[in-house]
Assembly symmetry: C2
């Protein structure tokens, strides 16, 4: 029952929905993102990029066209393509390895190097209809925005490197979660759990890999794989000149590197963190059994961090009150806080709180007649439901501070 | 001749290249981005997003699957799709308008609202072979990452709104340019200049529009269009219930809004700013006629802002020197400066400068024996070629400051 409420919330509040299309002559579903979902996805991608590209050493992003590129000289392939028109790639692996030599040249053959890629992929695999309805909705789309990092390093320290990435990725998943313990790492084979979204599940050839899984209401689902793929990427190229792929660690002799892959998708993160954030809060009226739905999203990934509303005693709030709201909006934006100005929407504070809880907005600030007379503004916190007054001159600083704190606390762990 | 050098630089330095594929049974080219181009593109997209989504009011991003979505109930369309398998969208307009009602609901029918979208599109139009080789390379790809904003507002202030967006967009183009005067706005018909990249060139039905053009070596090319498309987007829906699309400005009666569209692509920005930044600098040796190639990219969009190199008197720099470089790299990253640590690459300072100029890196810092003995570090500026010493404890603060200054100066204009 919670599942149905959750799915309806995600659909009606503009996170995402599934639409039916025909792909390769077969019916399939595609994720279609609304205004809230698009903001949420952008935040997820930004945080992945910050961690994997900006904070690591020698990471080089690559970006390839969404269409699978075809060598026109290969007549057998050309024929296939002409019949099928075009198709989208299923993974980003080929795009990454195709840029390896270019990147090795850029670092003057020095290892380690990493290649990062973000891109739309398509998976034709469908979900069986005997699955819970919530799972069908969260994992039912064939399109994915995959997030892949390949780290090339010396085979001699490959196990240390694998552990490094597993820990880094696991802490990323936990960081934005309310119940970090729901994320776990397993080294088991994938046969007993569902295939990860955005991954082909072909045999792993005895390569070492770890799966990061999230405990969904119906059981664990793999949301990310961290694999040691060895030098398979090079041997698969079927190129005799393996020497040119060789690189050198500082102070060591040249070798053919081995590769660690961290692979996930924005859809996996969406599924895990939205479910993680969802809860049904009993209404304050004890008489009825009704619940309010809340998305307790981490402030750093929430679509908006602050909402601004007006609570006026008169039916038509004054122009001055609207000016105060616009001024606050500009100040929040200048401080880097994302802000939803709902001051012209009307309706009661309770209606604002109910909607903002459903959109996952951590703070709602309320401008009323008091604000105009005494310079006091009320802030309501999504999670505690506490409403507290503060001076209007201090509110931007206060909220900016408390929106930053959670992430910085975790970073120092 | 400069054109050939420029094209070779962009290819060999890993910005982008063209690859041939078969699309809809026909040969065409696709842009394929290397590690430097991918970083550059990410920066362009980030700055568009900051200006158009974060800094404006009531902008809602939407993100749709790259494939054109098809209503399976429409049997005529279904047939067409089954034959063609799938195809990519050619514009983002349909994606934006399809989310309009959802967004209007989110703002409680209050105008103005804007819809923003970034996504991969494909254009089958090819470039005629009698064009200059440089133009063929810059505009020869069929794939585009389009950047579209639709602003819905009351028809009564549509002309003011059009002017607002034209000025905002024009200043964006000029901000990252060395010769801002090369960007200009024209209201002429597009027949006498080349069609803009990423745009369908079908008739404009007498709608008001402005074209932002960049003066390429071979003539002007439109890089962005800002159009007043009126209420055409709604009338094209062929829906009788136009009332439900009506919205309300503060203190006014409800009306069917008119729409301003700002449309460009990352490829248009790439073409303009790379050409804008390119120049050939005579070598210091006056005897020969050789030139060094330089990309004078704005620090905010350059793939890297700082490079770190070692200039050691001995052949094997000490471990301590490498530690200093790693330490600097971490400090730069913590300060939000993108950093290319080339301390393990070897080669002379001159070779570093030549490469870094070609990659568009504004600053190169050099660690040498002096750094270890006296705490002095040398910084070389790409544009002035001046090398100046500073205390190693101050270098991160100094460069962070000067990398930020240009943009902030322009923002206060």
């Amino acid at each position: 029952m919670a599942g149905t409420n959750f799915v309806n919330l995600i659909k009606t509040r503009g996170f995402f929905d599934l639409i039916k299309i025909i792909y390769k002559g077969q019916e399939c579903f595609m994720f279609d993102y609304g205004p809230l979902g698009s903001r949420f996805r952008q935040n997820v991608q930004k945080h992945w990029w910050d961690l994997m590209v900006h904070q690591q050493q020698n990471v080089f992003p690559v970006e390839s066209p969404a269409l699978k590129s075809v060598n026109i000289m290969n007549h057998r392939q050309e024929e296939t393509i002409s019949q099928n028109s075009i198709f989208l790639r299923e993974t980003l692996q080929q795009d990454c390895i195709s840029k390896y030599l270019q990147i090795l040249k850029l670092t003057n053959n020095k290892l380690p190097i990493s290649v990062a890629s973000v891109g739309a992929c398509i998976l034709s695999s469908a979900i069986h209809s005997d699955q819970p309805q919530e799972r069908q909705f969260l994992f039912g789309g064939s399109n994915r925005t995959c997030l892949l990092l390949q780290n090339y390093t010396s085979p001699s320290n490959i196990n240390t490197t694998l552990d490094f990435w597993v820990q880094l990725r696991l802490s990323w998943w936990k960081k934005f979660s309310n119940i970090p313990g729901n994320f776990s790492v397993t080294s088991k084979t994938l046969n007993d759990i569902h295939p990860p979204p955005g991954h082909a599940t072909s045999g792993h050839n005895n390569q070492t890999y770890r799966a990061i899984a999230y405990q969904f209401p119906w059981g664990p689902e793999v949301v990310e794989e961290v694999k040691n793929v060895g030098d398979k990427v090079f041997r698969d190229l079927q190129n005799d000149e393996l020497e040119k792929y060789m690189g050198q660690m500082f102070g060591k002799t040249a070798c053919l590197p081995h590769c660690i892959e961290c692979e996930t998708s924005i859809e996996a993160a969406t599924a895990a963190w939205l479910v993680d954030s969802y809860y049904e809060r009993p209404t304050s009226k004890t008489a009825d059994r009704k619940h309010n739905m809340v998305l307790k999203l981490h402030p750093q990934i929430a679509p908006f961090q602050v909402a601004i509303a007006i609570n006026s005693a008169s039916k038509a709030p004054s122009h001055e009150m609207h000016h105060v709201c616009s001024h606050l909006e500009r100040e929040f934006k200048a401080a880097g806080v994302t802000c939803f100005n709902t001051s012209e929407h009307g309706s009661s504070p309770e209606a604002h709180f109910r909607r903002n809880d459903q959109l996952g907005i951590p703070y709602t600030v309320i401008v009323n007649e008091n604000t105009m007379n005494e310079g006091l503004i009320h802030t309501r916190h999504r999670d505690t439901q506490i409403q507290s007054p503060s001076a209007i001159t201090e509110i931007v600083g206060l909220l900016t501070q408390s929106l930053r704190t959670p992430l910085e606390d975790q970073n120092t762990n």
